[in-house]
């Protein structure tokens, strides 16, 4: 490949959009996050009486004006039934990101140089559940012609491309809870390697349905001890943690070749400077000892960024609030940063919104960019008594002003897949 002498290009973030349990809209969500608010609550959308976990982070209902979701404000009724909720959330976040970027190609060349890469960990689970119920009742003839295109993961990318006419690479990532970071990193690489000038990239998830919660309960992955105090359930690194809290939502960014962004005078939030990946080759759900896969993903990301650990001031941790994973990730970060760890801030924003699975890495990538923009580390809520001490400041309970120039965000997924992405302040 690249016998033509092509050399990689720099890639920047020029637009961002979020739909998450703290609401809709990047600024609205970020303000609430820095104020230490939580988006976790009791599940109201279905009956949880037979399930041990009864809480989740769900996108709040409401209107655009108050940062809540009324899907009919975003997607015509006729089209809503053609897409599972995860695709709807992807479209909501993409609309904000694309508008924010100001990128609206007026010619065919511009459209063909703009691609989409939005992934999901699970896809249209609720849609599959509903269709399978019909099949079980012998009503296969009642299965909607929109069932398959509503459930397929790459249809998030497909729907966004159709809406905007973006005809460049149309791709999708499926790597469980690492999806979001992989989507951002892979999309950045497509731009760096010349396949596109602009990529709309991110992750979307809407698996907070009966089947989804039941499945993660069966895997003993979810918090079950805080059903009466949902906002205290997601407590990364705290000794009382007992599993993750499911969340739903979408994070979408507009990535762009630096020269392309400059040429059109775009606002630049940050630069994507590094990306690293690894596999554990160890276990389907548990991280390897010492989280050595995470260690290698972070090492690879820093290497590709050309920065040393001491040049990184903030890590947005995977930090899901599981007994095993949190301390192993901490161990890997401690090992990599060494003495420089004393100057590092590392927090888990999952403490406020839960674990958005395939959307997590995209939403947390946006938080990392905002941490650089506003020079502030978002808090780890509920970290009252760490299960073990560390020289690394985990930003317990309250946001902290910090001189953040470079930030790294981690995401790890079932199957032993790890990804880290590194951002730097706008060039």
């Amino acid at each position: 490949m690249f016998q033509n002498g092509f050399s990689p290009r720099r890639v920047v973030v020029t637009g961002m959009g979020i739909a998450c349990p703290l609401g809709l809209g990047v600024e609205h969500v970020w303000k609430r996050m820095l104020a230490g608010e939580s988006g976790i609550g009791s599940i109201q959308s279905f009956d949880t009486s037979a399930l041990p976990a009864k809480i989740a982070g769900q996108v709040p209902a409401g209107t655009k004006a108050d940062g809540g979701l009324d899907i009919s404000e975003w997607i015509p009724i006729k089209d809503q039934k053609k897409m599972d909720r995860f695709i709807q959330l992807a479209l909501v976040a993409a609309e904000e990101a694309v508008a924010d970027s100001g990128w609206a190609p007026q010619d065919e060349e511009g459209r063909c140089r703009t691609g989409v890469m939005i992934g999901s960990g699970i896809g249209g689970l609720e849609t599959i559940d509903e269709a399978s119920r019909l099949a079980v009742q012998g009503k296969t003839k009642r299965i909607s012609p929109f069932f398959i295109p509503s459930a397929l993961i790459n249809l998030a990318s497909g729907q966004v491309s159709i809406k905007y006419g973006f005809k460049g690479p149309n791709h999708s990532v499926v790597t469980a809870c690492a999806t979001g970071v992989h989507a951002l990193g892979d999309a950045a690489r497509l731009i760096a390697l010349g396949d596109a000038d602009v990529m709309v990239a991110g992750g979307a998830e809407a698996a907070v349905c009966e089947l989804g919660v039941a499945g993660f309960c069966a895997a003993r992955a979810l918090s079950t001890g805080f059903n009466d105090t949902p906002q205290q359930a997601s407590r990364p690194w705290d000794e009382g943690r007992d599993g993750f809290v499911m969340g739903e939502g979408a994070g979408v960014v507009v990535l762009e070749a630096l020269e392309h962004a400059k040429a059109r005078g775009a606002k630049i939030y940050a630069e994507v400077i590094g990306y690293g990946m690894s596999g554990d080759a160890y276990h389907i759900t548990a991280p390897a000892e010492g989280h050595e896969g995470a260690f290698r993903a972070m090492t690879a990301a820093l290497r590709s960024a050309g920065v040393t650990p001491e040049q990184v001031q903030y890590v947005n941790a995977h930090g899901t609030s599981t007994p095993l994973g949190d301390d192993l990730e901490l161990e890997a970060v401690e090992r990599l940063w060494g003495d420089a760890g004393k100057d590092l801030a590392m927090s888990s924003t999952k403490s406020a919104i839960g674990h958005l699975l395939g959307a997590a890495g995209a939403v947390e990538g946006i938080f990392s960019v905002l941490a650089i923009r506003d020079k502030v580390a978002p808090p780890t809520l509920n970290l009252e008594k760490p299960s073990r001490e560390s020289i690394i400041d985990r930003v317990a309970l309250q946001a902290q002003p910090r001189k953040i120039e470079v930030a790294l965000s981690n995401s790890f997924g079932f199957g032993g897949t790890n990804a880290s992405i590194v951002f730097r302040a706008a060039p």
């Binding site: 009724i77 053609k82 909607s144 012609p145």
Partner: protein, 79 residues
């Protein structure tokens, strides 16, 4: 307008998200009301559900306008 015609019109408005005034008897689902082939499949399923009739695929293919749907359903129901 017959009850069947009223009901068909209502289903078309709901499923295709079009204005009621556009749903004339002669209106073609695809050419006039913005439906694609999947929309028409779903529309026929909605008619089956609402009227308790079976519309086999070969008959469904011939239902291209609002009037086609009304006529077929009324014939099935013996109205």
């Amino acid at each position: 307008m017959s009850d069947t015609a009223e009901k068909v019109k209502k289903i078309v408005v709901e499923h295709l998200g079009v204005e009621e005034a556009k749903v004339t008897p002669e209106a073609s689902f695809i050419d006039d009301l913005g439906a694609d082939s999947l929309d028409t499949v779903e529309l026929v399923m909605a008619f089956e559900e609402a009227f308790g009739v079976e519309i086999p695929d070969d008959a469904a293919e011939k239902i291209t306008t609002v009037k086609d749907a009304i006529d077929y359903i009324e014939k099935q129901k013996g109205e």
